[in-house]
């Protein structure tokens, strides 16, 4: 080697030792060229340039036009469903072709895959949204009257107008039944989960298997069980309490299983740290494991409630349907929202069916409220912003706009 070896990264040559003629190893300091053009981000998948975005939108518009031509003019496939299906297929083809014009195989695959995934997401979202919209559309006329929430159906006939009667009795009934069921399942479900994760052993495996099997229990069986035990064998009347017990049977495995999963992901290091401080196992569970898993446990409970609030068949067998407000859980027949919906939809009267959809709207709203409450409860305690701070944060952009 007679020439100096240029360093590939900086261009500064390594100095040559005159005695041996070989390069002396040394470190390099990076050099910056201030006159170089500013760095530009590379184009890449998932970061479309305006050109590409234009091609993408254009492709789907072209697909729509082509699909309309195909289905409504050329082929005997009139109607919206065929148009949507062929729009999707044709749109995918056009997107693939336009991507192929400007890019390579990777771009084609990327666009087509993105199209398929977006289509699937839209179908799923549409199914969800249409459920809510359909129910609300059919129920809003009944649900918009104030008396719908403040009075019950006592003395109201199925053909009466919406300005008479309401679902107060069903809402109260649902609330009472769910409250009692939650009172039973919350300690029992979380207790079961604590047993399975913290105590363990062979019996815990058995319990886990049973709980998992119970998750798949058909709800009518839970109703039948309470019906035979409480009403037929023990001679209790049909009541809100019996319905609560039947709902509790359905909710317990859901809460126990979800809580079990949540408790199992609490790091073992926290348990060890607690035990090493001289804590008993019980205090470790109470002060360390459960608080750490609090957000997850709240979700587990909400899952259980969401399951319980919509259960119809256990309630159908065990509570009976009253048209008036009943507040005592043992005072005989009690109505609830799912049961009210069920009986009114079956009645055949248009007014009653509209009332049922109104009640279904309320049920949906109730579940939504429950979820929001649970998410708020589940926030970590330490850094929870106060309500005022959050309101101020929400209002700040508006103020700036003004």
């Amino acid at each position: 080697m007679t020439t100096m070896t240029p360093s590939p990264t900086t261009g500064t040559p390594d100095p040559i030792d005159p005695a041996t003629g070989t390069a002396v190893p040394q470190t390099h300091l990076p050099a910056y060229d201030d006159d170089a053009p500013p760095p530009l981000p590379r184009p890449g998948l998932g970061k479309p340039s305006p050109d590409e975005r234009f091609a993408l939108i254009g492709s789907w518009v072209a697909g729509a036009a082509l699909a309309w031509l195909l289905t409504q003019r050329l082929l005997p496939l009139a109607g919206l469903p065929w148009f949507l299906i062929s729009w999707f297929v044709v749109g995918l083809v056009v997107t693939g072709v336009t991507a192929g014009i400007t890019g390579g195989m990777t771009e084609v695959k990327d666009r087509v895959a993105a199209g398929v995934i977006t289509g699937a997401a839209l179908v799923t979202g549409a199914a969800l949204v249409s459920t809510v919209v359909f129910v609300t559309m059919r129920g809003w006329r009944a649900a918009l009257n104030l008396n719908f929430y403040t009075s019950d159906m006592s003395g109201v006939g199925p053909k009466d107008n919406f300005d008479k009667g309401g679902i107060l009795h069903a809402i109260t009934g649902s609330g009472i039944e769910l409250g009692i069921a939650l009172l039973i399942t919350l300690p029992l479900g979380i207790g079961t989960a604590v047993f399975m994760t913290e105590v363990g052993g062979k019996f815990a495996t058995v319990v886990r298997t049973v709980v998992e099997a119970m998750t798949a229990l058909p709800s009518i069986v839970a109703g039948l069980f309470i019906y035979t035990v409480l009403i037929v064998a023990l001679g209790f009347p049909r009541s809100g309490l019996a319905a609560s017990l039947a709902i509790a049977v359905m909710m317990l495995p859901i809460i126990a299983r979800a809580a079990d999963v949540v408790l199992r992901v609490v790091p073992g290091g926290l348990r060890e740290a607690s035990l090493a401080l001289g804590s008993s196992r019980w205090r470790t569970v109470w002060h360390v494991v459960l608080p750490t898993a609090r957000p997850g446990l709240a979700t587990a409970v909400i899952l259980g409630i969401a399951r319980g609030v919509g259960e119809t068949s256990p309630v159908l067998l065990t509570s009976g349907a009253a048209a008036f407000t009943v507040t005592g859980p043992t005072d005989g027949v009690m109505n609830s929202l799912p049961l009210f919906i069920y009986t009114n939809v079956r009645s055949g009267e248009p007014q009653a069916i509209a009332r049922a959809f109104g009640a279904a709207t309320v049920l949906l709203a109730l579940v939504l409220v429950l979820f929001v409450v649970a998410r708020l409860l589940a926030r970590p305690r330490g850094n929870r912003p106060t309500l005022r701070a959050r309101l101020a944060g929400a209002l700040a952009p508006n103020r700036a706009a003004r």
Binding site: P267, G269, L270, E272, A273, S274, L275, A276, L277, G278, S279, S280, R283, T284, H287, V288, P291, T292, R294, P380, R381, G382, N383
Partner: protein
Amino acid sequence: MTGDRTDVLPSIGDQHASTTVIPAVPAVPAIPAAPSGPPVPTTASLEAERVSAWFGQRKVLDRVSLEMPAGRVTALIGPSGCGKSTFLRILNRMHELVPSAALAGEVRLDGQDIYAPERRLTDARKAIGMVFQKPNPFPAMSIQDNVLAGLRLTGTKIGKGEREGLVEESLVRAGLWLEVKDRLKQPGSALSGGQQQRLCIARSLAVRPRVLLMDEPCSALDPTSTRVVEETIQQIAADVTIVIVTHNMQQAHRVSHQCAFFLAAHGTPGVIVEHGPTDTIFDNPQDQRTSDYVNGRFG
């Protein structure tokens, strides 16, 4: 300890004395209950005598004896898998958390066997605290609550004024007070790794242990945090007897007064090859294997 000389333990072969798994531990007189509340305890010496340990059928420690004198720092060194951590966990009865674990021998805190049947498990762990390899502050608690967690978890009640004093004192001893005094209500998990580890040390100190066990407390930390934790160790060593497991020779050299070198030959349970004053272990060990290990020639 015998002056400047290290003690080489006899090799295993010549001892056929049978070690038995504890159920019958010699009864020792009941120990006065650990001081409740925060009176400052005196340091205590810890002695392990002929400790053997098993996981299932596999024996991992064989008749290990070691004296850890009061108010000093003892470092346990040795290659991975030689039973140092197991030995450390035996010292505050964390070993028995593993369902298949078994144990023989005695661990004496100031002469009283902590495995004696009449001694409560939780009392032993209260008196002998532990800091783990990975910082593990309780994520659901604030910094202040983390420090006080030991009191809450052991059901110790103290007044509100005392509580603030204890939080400050523990954080000062752990070298964390200046960094967190303005944000005691923030979650402990928001701290950096090194701060979290010092928070864990403060949490252990708040229950006023007489001995503090540390299982590789710096192996997950950067050099700066390691230095701060080491300074903390040196500062608290006067009040608390410290036993530290470390893979870092320099760290053992820096922080400890005495060293014990553990080794498990292939397929055999771990033993102490040599123990003694740290300087002697590093500069003039008797056993060739110790010399090789501390000079980085194997392990």
